[in-house]
Symmetry: D2
Amino acid sequence: MLSLSIPEHVEPIRQKVLNFIEQEIYPVEAELLADKVSSRRGELMKGLMQKAKDQGLWALGHPEEIGGGGLPFMDYVFVNEVVGRSEIATVALGTHSLQDSIMLHRYANDKWRNKYLEPLVAGEVFPSFGMTEPAVASSDPTQLQTKAELEGDEWVINGRKWFTSGAGNAAYTTAMVRTEFDVPDHSAFSMIVVPTDTPGYNIIRDVKVMGQADGHYEVAYDNVRVPKENLLGPRGQGFKIAQDRLGPGRIFHCMRWLGQAQRAFDLMCDRANNRVAFGKNLGEHQQIQKFIFDTAAEIQASRLLTLHAAQKIDQGDEARIEIGLIKVFGAKMLHNSIDRAIQVHGALGVTEDTPLERMYRHARYARIYDGADEVHVMTTAKRILRVYNDGAKFDFGLR
Amino acid sequence: MLSLSIPEHVEPIRQKVLNFIEQEIYPVEAELLADKVSSRRGELMKGLMQKAKDQGLWALGHPEEIGGGGLPFMDYVFVNEVVGRSEIATVALGTHSLQDSIMLHRYANDKWRNKYLEPLVAGEVFPSFGMTEPAVASSDPTQLQTKAELEGDEWVINGRKWFTSGAGNAAYTTAMVRTEFDVPDHSAFSMIVVPTDTPGYNIIRDVKVMGQADGHYEVAYDNVRVPKENLLGPRGQGFKIAQDRLGPGRIFHCMRWLGQAQRAFDLMCDRANNRVAFGKNLGEHQQIQKFIFDTAAEIQASRLLTLHAAQKIDQGDEARIEIGLIKVFGAKMLHNSIDRAIQVHGALGVTEDTPLERMYRHARYARIYDGADEVHVMTTAKRILRVYNDGAKFDFGLR
Amino acid sequence: MLSLSIPEHVEPIRQKVLNFIEQEIYPVEAELLADKVSSRRGELMKGLMQKAKDQGLWALGHPEEIGGGGLPFMDYVFVNEVVGRSEIATVALGTHSLQDSIMLHRYANDKWRNKYLEPLVAGEVFPSFGMTEPAVASSDPTQLQTKAELEGDEWVINGRKWFTSGAGNAAYTTAMVRTEFDVPDHSAFSMIVVPTDTPGYNIIRDVKVMGQADGHYEVAYDNVRVPKENLLGPRGQGFKIAQDRLGPGRIFHCMRWLGQAQRAFDLMCDRANNRVAFGKNLGEHQQIQKFIFDTAAEIQASRLLTLHAAQKIDQGDEARIEIGLIKVFGAKMLHNSIDRAIQVHGALGVTEDTPLERMYRHARYARIYDGADEVHVMTTAKRILRVYNDGAKFDFGLR
Amino acid sequence: MLSLSIPEHVEPIRQKVLNFIEQEIYPVEAELLADKVSSRRGELMKGLMQKAKDQGLWALGHPEEIGGGGLPFMDYVFVNEVVGRSEIATVALGTHSLQDSIMLHRYANDKWRNKYLEPLVAGEVFPSFGMTEPAVASSDPTQLQTKAELEGDEWVINGRKWFTSGAGNAAYTTAMVRTEFDVPDHSAFSMIVVPTDTPGYNIIRDVKVMGQADGHYEVAYDNVRVPKENLLGPRGQGFKIAQDRLGPGRIFHCMRWLGQAQRAFDLMCDRANNRVAFGKNLGEHQQIQKFIFDTAAEIQASRLLTLHAAQKIDQGDEARIEIGLIKVFGAKMLHNSIDRAIQVHGALGVTEDTPLERMYRHARYARIYDGADEVHVMTTAKRILRVYNDGAKFDFGLR
């Protein structure tokens, strides 16, 4: 049975996380997000991480067996919306490593598991993930060009990737590379762990994205050699492992988008209640009321759609159609919510004096990363049509 | 706790209703909806009603105490989506009289309750409801002009109403009229039962709406005299009673809109799978895939929003904000779903050969009746802003 | 050089046409458009036609050599916007036969030209055009199934068409049929004149469209035999002739859509200035202001785009890209303008008491006839991309 | 008579400007726009300015009498679209000072005219304009708080402004301040010239906007004293002078937006023709075709609307309605064009490797500066409704 309300036992921890974000993170957020690397920055972040650990808020969704808080999936989904309020929170609360930790835990050999897993979960070392390449449209990942060839006991990797987020201070990158050459594309790619200090792993630049160097690195793989056993899982299973990672990952993304949107909504409503133009509060003008109305409807619709998809996943369903829907619907909701909040703030809304402009810029990638909207539209519609082709109807599974 | 899945015990009855609609109603629907009154029409409808009674599908949502099926509110909500597939179904299954029966049951004096209630629930007589007036914008109902003045033991009613749906074959009309003249507008209106054979109750015409005479009558009240006790409930409580009627009524509307939209979606997908243009099925063209994707997302979003609002009402909350959201969001979803289904059908889509064109025309009123969109936007946004003004945040009540 | 203002010498005739429509047509429009064939209807229409002739307003755009008013193309374009105000006007002013007259004049043999051309231009007989078929998606006309095979000196035609507008009282139908079977699809179709009294030309029904029987006939061709010389132009040139017809025809459509939209806009603004809700005129509410603003922008944008396309055609350019753009942009503008006008009228807007609801229903086909939107999007974008592929840029030809 | 084609005599100069931008500016644009002040930056810009002067492309639209190129208004409008391709071009070609030069020329006393005008037009000193204030919603400028009080022969100015663009390297700021205190708001403001080295003129910061410090300064006026004769024009005429400045200024803005949009469109089409996904060029996918189609229609519609407004202004009309329409319509077109171009570029589109991401960020302010969209919607709709209220119809002036 699907339940879309916040479970009672989740409320206290969700509230505690929200308090932490509002009281500990908001006051230092602007400083932590500023362009230039302040000397205080690393220190500040470490302080936040320690406080989160002290308050029992660290890595809440990681399995207990690898040192996490062990929140069940659905509980964590509800918490994750709140985490999304600030982009600082994912690192400050240790949730950033969830997917990489699980991938390592599940697929890595003992050596790497022993070496990286504990410090990864503890936030002492950072992971990174390398998939997107500048030379091909990543929306069709069968086109990826980076390849690894087995020479003796080593993989020799050549190619170029970008959007390897966090490569600059990561311990290793999990690289998605072609390892098979005579098989169908979907069985041709594998995941390989590449420590960032491996010779030939050359960071080209921190690509500026929407005006900011945020750690989306371009990395050249020039005859990078790593041991054969750095393979994650079996050869040719790269897409499968990526899918394992992406499914729940998209749920988490979508919940965090809701956190962003709700924050924008709160700011918009407060502004509408407190700023005057033409003799009355902005909120008494119907055009502003329309913004508030539409945003409320889109946020709540998106939230319910996301929770529904989450529950299907929690019940063991892959929920491909539902995830396709929320990826696109949610990214649009995210943009619209922030966009309208900016408009209600007028000139202030585009300045550094509110978090909105940065949220707006970030929201733009949401329609591209994890699969461009257009790809989700195509594949999701095809899945739906297949249901009808089989003589059934698609009832969106309210069961 | 909110649960948005179809309860297991509701599935069988919901399926039975769906089967009835697909097998009994669809084959005769076009004939029943055609313009001209065929001689077979009344007979056909009576046959359907009897079949529904025989199969235990009659008046499922009416309270047992007044002769109905007694389905609890939330169960009935799920059934109601299916009822919405065909506009014929509401009458054929006896759900059309639900709100009027309850109003009569709750507020009428014994005389009228005894006279009308039983045949009303049984579908032997028909109710009608008179609120909208041609002379004023009904979106602001404080402007309504029809008035009733007490002369001795009788109300004398004068005015003109239209969109008194079904007046042509109704036993009576519940008229919303001004009875108080020295009080604030919101306490100035009352509901009065007016048998349609009362002298002075003059049907002017069956106003054609979107090209069809569908029973939206214009009625002149020329010194209509009815006994004092025809008042429903206390004097001046008209708006309160209307609100009691409208709240759950809007949930039912929205669920039936979902039924319409789902039917359009099913037709669209089947067409996309079976019609060829430019060498492949329509469904293989991305513009059509976009239609399917967007429609799926909007239907499912609307369904979840409506179920959420329903559950809040079921828990005793008035859910004014939630109802405002679904009224507007749902009406748009309804239009969009049918509109896209028509487009995928091409020229066929605007002809009488599918139910889509009629559904399309009907969908246009959805943005007007029960309060124009613009009014819901205004009042709902104000309610939301009030929450913030009180220092709280609006979290859409996922509890 | 492109000029987008109404030429001074066109103003008087344009104004005269507008006056005729407002003073002669509006008062009888509702009666002429009503469902049932009133006995007065034919008479009324004949009266209007005679008046138009008497006032020198008849067939203004037809070439002088075939008995028309001889207005140059661009002058007629400006007049045509005004003609569009009422769908009655095209017939009452004799503009309805323009494209068929020209086609006959240009391509028919002497026999048919002598027989039909004069009474056609004079409005004494009516043409019809048969292209769309129920069995295939007409958006891809290479799929059309109706075929004509030469047996001796006669074409033998078999197939089924619908949307043969006006077939019910037409003298003849120009049928688009496959005559060639071993050539590429685009050279396989021809136009053949079929008198409606030819044996085997069987009218099946007047297909109801958007709730109304408006003369979109379904016609079966059952071994219809017509003389060889009924061919219009050379064999296999059907698409070319259709294109000749469609290019300027789409300009005329788009201008008439502007007439419809402007009428809706005028009605909307008058209503906004004269109806009160919540203590002030509708026009003082920002949501209504937004409707007015958006409609003004869309109408004017559409008008300028259409005039630009018209001038390119006038200069001998086929203007395929420009025509593709206005077909889709204009149809959307048309819908939006009428839709918003309805909303501002509230319940009144969906009734027969204003022309809006009928305009709304008609507007729905605009996205389908003369090529579904989706086809124009596809072909127009391809044309634009071809320009870039050739190393040029597309500057929309402001020359 | 309105003519919307590029006049023949304008083509060569327009083409020359375009060549300059493509050949001289594009190659150094990224460097000039980069965040950090490179040592080469000032030098590079000076080099471009000199080259533009050498090629006769400097200050083309400034009146000849003040040392400009003397292009007539409409000619300059067409050139200005091309200037808009790169934000560097306005300064490199000397067009940036047009409005301030004219204001100075028209309203300043001899002292300032002699001191600033020549070097201003020559690009040797820079102007700035101070209107927006952080403390009030500038969309309603009657709320501005900065005031100047006459003490003896000096104005004493106090207040705080931001978005004083370019204040950091400007010679002076024209400040809009309240000088009258007992008159209606619209006659209460004046323009005063404030040299930036005046004591009390304190630059607080270069406010970061959409992630970048682009010269939108916050400036405190702490008892700033300037001579009485620094007043521009008569006392209380601030709004009138601002309006003189804004009307044509908005035309220039809108034309430059078209330049931006056309550049995005060119990039999008080239990408669509050259990037492969799922086995074919992006441009062969219908979702991408839809982007191209919609963008083409919106750009061309916006261009024609803007040219129409420009011509009305050129004919002496204030064209308030037309300017209101293009401000909002154009800003949306600008966003949509860039947004779709980004989407077609995928991940590349949000990086620094194309100009698109910066254009996207800039486009966001277009809906706020020079009056928020919502204000234009309100005032423009009111103007339209006034026409109808006077018994006329609004025909958008195609004369």
